[in-house]
Amino acid sequence: MATWSELSNEIAEGIQSAGRSIVSVQGDGRRTAAGIVLDDSTILTSAQGISEADNISVWISRQQPLKASLLGRDHGSDLALLKIDGKLGEPALFADSPQLALGQLVVAVARTWRGNLVASSGILSGLMGEWQTHGGKKIEAFIRPDLTLYPGFSGGALLGADRKIIGMTTRGLARGSSLAVPYATIKRITALLRDKGYVPSPYLGVGLQPVRLPESLRRKLNLSEHAAALVVHLEGGSPADHAGLMLGDILLAVADTRLGEERTVSILSRLAPDQKANIEGIRGDELFNRSVVIGERPRRQG
């Protein structure tokens, strides 16, 4: 059983050691964020933390800042990658498969714009498996530490007792709640950001309206669900169009997602562009199954 001073010192040392891979990031605006060193020249930070892509500066200590450029960003997961012209400190040590449990003591580490290391602590107060943000984006685990993320803490690291990083702290994922983006999500998203500079969004090209299935139809087709989605809009040339969907089709499921139970924005969240998926639906009182190749959401480049 550790004494007060033993515990304190251990936490202090853990912060200093992990702090070598924590930087401060500042864009053109007044906002500052923290950042995590991923390798020699790449930093992970909060997408919302840097409002402008130009004139990004990075402090690794209290010395002169380094210039950084934006490699890519993804608002769905609030992650952004920065490229540094120069040599960074040690890459951060992430916990690959952390054994997280409710109540574990965790510490958030960040760096101020003056280059000073700062910290906050608490226990893991919320822990759940895969979830989706309000905008329907997949996050590999729900991690909510019970601590204060002061201004400038987004983009920093959440440390566990093994001194490894559990995830990136942020207040930008769910209406101001303090959460950590898990390492699994960081791995997935940064790979895409390095490759394309953005994260392609899965796309079908339909506008769906929730509808209740009439009793007669449920009986006739032996359906257990009560609700489905009616196609009220079909984008020409879209994946849905190529799959032969029509206005008026009633969709029951896309891949394994039953549409009657899911928010429209979440329907495609477990799918990726170029992936094949089966669409189960009803047309004219008969069930149908059609294969669709998920496309990429047309995007306006900023």
Binding site: Q48, S51, H75, G76, T133, H134, G135, G136, K137, S201, Y203, L204, G205, V206, G207, L208, Q209, P210, L230, V232, H233, E235, R263, T264, V265, I267, L268, R299, R300, Q301, G302
Partner: protein
């Protein structure tokens, strides 16, 4: 042998009355009377089954309806008398075919209601129209809001100022009858405005 439908004709002019009368004459209908419309003069519909009016005077037409107590078929432009059309039992547009006019009169006479399939005025007035339609730009913004992007990010993508986006979001909230951004998304989802 079926009883012929008894029709009473009202039109703006003598010529109009004759033209409309000709539609029904020789077609299995019985023309029992006709009159040109004058705002306040009374008319005797006798034993009519249906009154057929062809008029550009919408207010007049609606006054007549309230007096009649009989099914009324109004032949005229929807734009001229949308309000009048609502008070009546049946309406066919100005350019309706003879067959349509006769069918409408016969249907009304036996107690049915009629409605042209493609008349846009009905689309505007029907109970299925619940929302002020969103502009293309507003739909675009709503979809971006639904994806979870903050205003700043939406502004950046659409290359406009954040204030412009705030303005669009306000308008969207108003049109959907929502009380917040989040509720606007929920209502947008419910009405099939979100494209995935």
């Amino acid at each position: 042998m079926q009883e012929p439908t008894r029709v009473f004709i009202l039109a703006d002019s003598g010529a109009g009355v004759r033209k409309l009368g000709a539609v029904f004459d020789q077609a299995g209908f019985l023309l029992i009377g006709s009159q040109t419309i004058e705002t306040t003069s009374p008319f005797e519909t006798g034993l009519a089954d249906v009154i057929v009016i062809r008029s550009r005077k919408a207010e007049t037409a609606s006054i007549l309806v309230s007096r009649a107590g009989l099914p009324v078929l109004w032949v005229g432009q929807a734009a001229d008398g949308g309000a009048a059309a609502r008070g009546m039992f049946g309406h066919v547009p100005e350019d309706a075919s003879l067959a349509q006019i006769r069918a409408a009169a016969a249907a009304l006479a036996v107690g049915l209601q009629i409605k042209p399939r493609e008349d846009r005025s009905y689309a505007e007035e029907s109970e299925f129209t619940m929302l002020d339609p969103l502009t293309d730009r507003e739909l675009e913004v709503l979809n971006l809001v639904a994806e979870g992007f903050p205003n700043r990010e939406i502004a950046r993508r659409l290359r406009v100022s954040p204030n412009t986006i705030k303005f669009h979001v306000s308008s969207i909230i108003g049109k959907l009858g929502a009380s917040s951004r989040t509720e606007a998304v929920t209502l947008g989802l419910r009405h099939g405005l979100i494209i995935i």
